[in-house]
């Protein structure tokens, strides 16, 4: 019993923090809400680094992936809380902090789940808090639209997912991933495959994979930047972590040929990469472009997983997340600081904003260049890892040459989407600011500046510290 408590310490600490934050609202200690949330999340982060690995029944598994994903989720939550604390006023504190903590808690549960029940619980926890975050700005029609679209499409995806899960339960009589995998061995491959596919819609939705991506552009465009940074990063880490576990235990290589799984994943990846790149170039809003970037990057991560069971595949996905998360948070924070009117990130509104805040502009350029995969930044190494895994498998086995085509799609997508990122850089730096804008620029809030600096530092460091990839590989495949 006590061992279970040790394993789940981060989740328990976070839950306690969430309750405390909610109470702080009731007790009118609003100004302490962020401090409370931050210190709780930091404790959980510490606990996640120290907590032992192990399983909790057949429901949760803290394996190598979860052991990486938990600190990553909590670290991102700390950054997002720090940024929120200095961007928001105290009145918003308890509610925003509580929603963010709930999102992080959902991500932790999802990332560790080895069973359909906690998976469903985690996904719903992430969805519900995400809906509220996206529709945060009361009175803003676009924020309301974003929240509404998120709810409607998210609800449909959840319903589909639940439908698939109920079929899986009906067929297998079990809800744990291993049990589903064991049943695949016995009989009924076709209904099981169909049920698995339907059940995974919820994950694909969280990952913004084509064809479950269509909500992302509108939601990302309308939601507040910090909400986008939250729903764009934490659920991705969780979804990839659980996807890896589900693939290896529910669809074991011994029963399903890797070629068919990787064919399907590569197809999804190719579609996401190409659709995102081709639609991003017509977008004229910076946050919308970030949405397409999220879709494309989800494609890259799934492409890495398509190269399973090769050892470099999962490490490539993990490194990709490590590169994607700080660059996305950094880019969105920089956009929030650069936008002259809060919440308006259309490219025309951003024109010349880099002249007001040159260093924030430089930070934005670094983050976007990393998202575009330019060396020597983290995004380049991430792309490198995915391509290496895909080519290693695709060149090695002729029946998996579909991976080569998908790798080609990744390259093509990189080249095309560079244009979209350039559009943002062009607006921020190369275009003149509108003449009437003479209001003095307020000083940078120190909390946001620190988070932004951390994101840029991580982007640079992960790009230059080439051994990071090897370290990840070792921790996933000791």
């Amino acid at each position: 019993m006590s061992e279970t408590l040790m394993i789940l310490a981060p989740e328990l600490i976070l839950t306690a923090t969430l309750l405390a934050v909610l109470l702080s609202d009731a007790a009118r200690w609003r100004s302490f809400a962020y401090l409370l949330a931050l210190s709780g999340t930091l404790c959980a982060l510490l606990a996640s680094a120290l907590a032992p690995r192990g399983t909790v029944g057949d429901q949760l598994a803290i394996d190598a992936w979860a052991a990486l994903a938990r600190p990553a989720i909590l670290l991102s939550a700390v950054l997002l809380l720090m940024a929120a604390r200095s961007l928001h006023d105290d009145d918003d504190g308890p509610a925003w902090a509580a929603l963010l903590l709930a999102l992080a808690l959902g991500a932790l549960v999802t990332a560790a789940s080895a069973h359909l029940l906690p998976l469903w619980l985690g996904l719903e926890l992430m969805s519900l808090s995400g809906y509220a975050l996206a529709g945060w700005r009361a009175g803003s029609r676009r924020s309301a639209e974003a929240g509404m679209k998120y709810v409607l499409f998210g609800g449909a995806a959840s319903a589909l997912s639940l439908y698939g899960m109920s079929h899986l339960y009906g067929l297998a009589g079990r809800l744990d991933f291993a049990g589903i995998g064991a049943m695949l061995a016995v009989d009924q491959p076709l209904p099981v495959t169909a049920a698995l596919l339907i059940a995974s819609v919820g994950l694909a939705y969280k990952l913004t994979l084509v064809p479950f991506h269509y909500y992302a552009p509108d939601v990302y465009q309308g939601a507040p930047p910090l909400a986008v940074a939250s729903v764009g990063t934490l659920p991705k880490i969780a979804a990839i972590a659980v996807l890896v576990r589900a693939l290896s235990s529910a669809v074991p290589e011994s029963l399903v040929s890797p070629a068919s799984v990787s064919g399907l994943l590569a197809l999804l990846a190719t579609a996401s990469l190409l659709v995102a790149a081709l639609t991003a170039v017509v977008a004229r809003d910076a946050q919308r472009i970030i949405a397409y970037s999220a879709i494309a990057h989800a494609g890259s991560m799934v492409l890495a997983l398509a190269a399973r069971p090769h050892s470099s595949a999962t490490a490539a996905a993990a490194f990709y997340l490590a590169a994607y998360v700080p660059a996305t948070i950094g880019a969105l924070l920089a956009l929030a600081l650069l936008a002259p009117t809060a919440g308006r990130t259309a490219l025309v509104e951003l024109a010349g904003s880099g002249q007001r805040r040159p260093w924030t502009g430089v930070a934005l350029v670094v983050c976007l260049a990393s998202l575009a995969g330019l060396p020597p930044l983290a995004g380049f190494l991430a792309k490198w890892g995915v391509l290496r895994a895909a080519l290693e498998v695709g060149l090695g086995a002729p029946e998996r040459s579909v991976l080569l085509w998908a790798a080609g799609a990744l390259l093509l997508s990189t080249a095309i989407s560079a244009w979209a990122y350039l559009l943002i850089i062009r607006a921020v730096f190369f275009q003149p600011a509108p003449a009437q804008q003479t209001t003095a620029t307020p000083p940078l809030p120190p909390g946001v500046a620190a988070v932004l600096a951390l994101c840029v530092a991580a982007t640079l460091a992960l790009g230059l510290w080439l051994s990071g990839f090897a370290v990840l590989l070792h921790s996933l495949h000791p």
Binding site: L374, P376, L381, R388, W405, L422, R426, F429
Partner: protein
């Protein structure tokens, strides 16, 4: 102990940080940093002049990760290009000495660019090569896009997208070459990769041999940078919109990257493919030589004229490399170096008149020799060198390439004959430009008050002018330093079948 070549990269890299802190003194920091690659490159070049050889010198190797290693070393060509980089970057820094718009950021970016370029010219590791090759795009984008002329946004983005798209396949190549090697001996060392070329020939990627895919990937990346017609259209825009110092860097250094990638990667790694494609590359080279010269004839803008002249002259590098004769390849590389002296000089001189007249229309000048005699002399010598007049630096490279084509015989002589036509064309557009700009009576009276070259301009122009004369009158040392490496390459390629 960190060696000289690593310092050539580290010095500009550190300087780029220092520049940001130094404020107005940034230009001194930048100039100091540029002198490091200049000194190291010159010393290496002298060593190759004294003891010619095809070996790599100043070798250093430190293991890195992911299979990459920080392995640097220069052969004769690397040494010459390193020295050229140091020289051109120093001159560009001097020419932007009074840059008023955010000078610290400007010099920091130029230093960053220098570090990336020096890395490309000195590294012997394919992954590091690619990283540096791509890393120089962002500083260049910023330099053109922020410090450029009227249409700088269009020019900067066009430059960026062309070069990025050109090199996108190269990333796939770098990884593919890694994964097809036997796991125990995998390496990114270019020398080791060159020894394994049979492996890529026998590996098939989606029905094409990996060698063919790889050759095309490098070729595409290189031809965009050279630039070869029809991939050259980014260059006139970039040149016209870029500030003078950036045009100098673009013409003097960045165009050489393409030739260098062919020399260092395409030919050694895929020798059989080089033999298959060499005719096409030569034809592309000749088309570039003639087409760009023809287009230069019709230019009204001085800078565009010089830009097209640049494209035309770079065509000789392609023709020489493709011919695979000793004098052809050597001539192509000599041309790369001497063009790196002559073309920046022309851009500097265009910048001089632009600073005074604030326009670059050829018909807006006339008789400038009267108020500006020293300028007129410099422009005359630079133009004559561009026209390939014997005794000036433009001559030996072109002459060697043409000799090479004639000695190869067959239809190569026809290509050579066609390329020779460009001597007439380049004399025509350059002399005609001279006639309209500096000779005759002063056509615009307000230009009588133009001051002649000042001390700073002379400091930038004189070193180039002297080297132009030196390489023209006495090209032997340069040729001797470059030839062994070129001959080793030819032996490697022609010995392949």
């Amino acid at each position: 102990m960190i060696g000289a070549l690593t310092w050539s990269v580290l010095a500009p890299l550190l300087a780029s940080v220092l520049c940001l802190l130094a404020g107005r003194a940034a230009r001194w920091v930048a100039l100091g940093a540029m002198l490091v690659p200049l000194a190291v490159g010159s010393a290496a070049l002298v060593s190759f002049v004294r003891q010619p050889g095809a070996d790599f010198r100043l070798l250093e190797s430190y293991p890195w990760a992911l299979g990459a290693a920080w392995t640097v070393g220069v052969d004769g060509i690397g040494a010459a290009l390193l020295a050229l980089t140091g020289l051109v970057m120093s001159i560009a820094t001097i020419s932007a000495w009074n840059e008023a718009r955010r000078p610290a950021a400007y010099h920091a970016l130029v230093c960053l660019l220098t570090a990336a370029v020096v890395t490309v010219f000195t590294t012997l590791d394919l992954l590091v090569f690619y990283i540096a090759w791509e890393a120089l795009l962002l500083p260049m984008l910023a330099l053109i896009g922020l410090w450029g002329g009227e249409q700088r946004r269009y020019a900067a983005i066009k430059f960026f997208l062309f070069t990025l798209a050109g090199s996108i396949l190269m990333l796939a190549l770098v990884i593919a070459l890694w994964v097809v090697q036997p796991e125990a001996t995998r390496s990114f060392d270019i020398r080791q990769l060159a020894g394994q070329w049979r492996l890529w020939e026998s590996t098939s990627v989606l029905g094409v041999s990996l060698a063919r895919f790889g050759f095309v990937a490098v070729l595409l990346a290189a031809l965009v940078k050279v630039p070869a017609v029809p991939l050259h259209t980014w260059l006139p825009h970039a040149h016209v919109q870029a500030p003078t110092a950036i045009s100098v860097i673009l013409a003097g250094i960045l165009l050489k990257l393409g030739v260098y990638a062919l020399y260092r990667l395409a030919w050694p790694l895929f020798p059989l493919q080089a033999l298959v494609f060499d005719h096409w590359i030569a034809v592309l080279g000749v088309i570039g030589i003639l087409w760009a010269a023809w287009v230069a004839l019709g230019q009204q803008d001085l800078k565009r004229l010089v830009a097209y002249a640049s494209v035309s002259h770079m065509g000789f590098c392609l023709l020489g490399l493709a011919g695979l004769t000793s004098s052809g390849v050597t001539g192509g590389m000599v041309q790369a170096i001497t063009h790196g002296l002559g073309s920046p000089l022309l851009f500097l001189l265009v910048g001089v008149v632009y600073d005074r007249a604030h326009h670059r229309r050829i018909d807006g000048f006339g008789g400038l020799a009267t108020p500006m005699p020293r300028f007129a002399w410099a422009l005359l010598l630079a133009s004559l060198s561009g026209a390939g007049l014997p005794g000036l630096a433009g001559f030996p490279g072109e002459a060697l390439v043409l000799f090479g084509s004639y000695t190869a015989g067959g239809w190569w002589s026809w290509l050579g004959a066609l390329a020779t036509l460009s001597v007439v064309l380049s004399a025509a557009y350059l002399l005609w430009m001279l006639k309209r700009v500096i000779y005759g009576p002063l056509r615009h009276p307000e230009q009588a008050a133009f001051p002649d070259l000042d001390a700073r301009e002379q400091a930038a122009i004189l070193p180039l002018l002297l080297l132009l004369l030196l390489c023209g009158v006495w090209p032997t040392p340069l040729v001797a330093a470059l030839r062994p490496a070129c001959e080793a390459l030819i032996t490697h390629v022609t010995g392949a079948p």
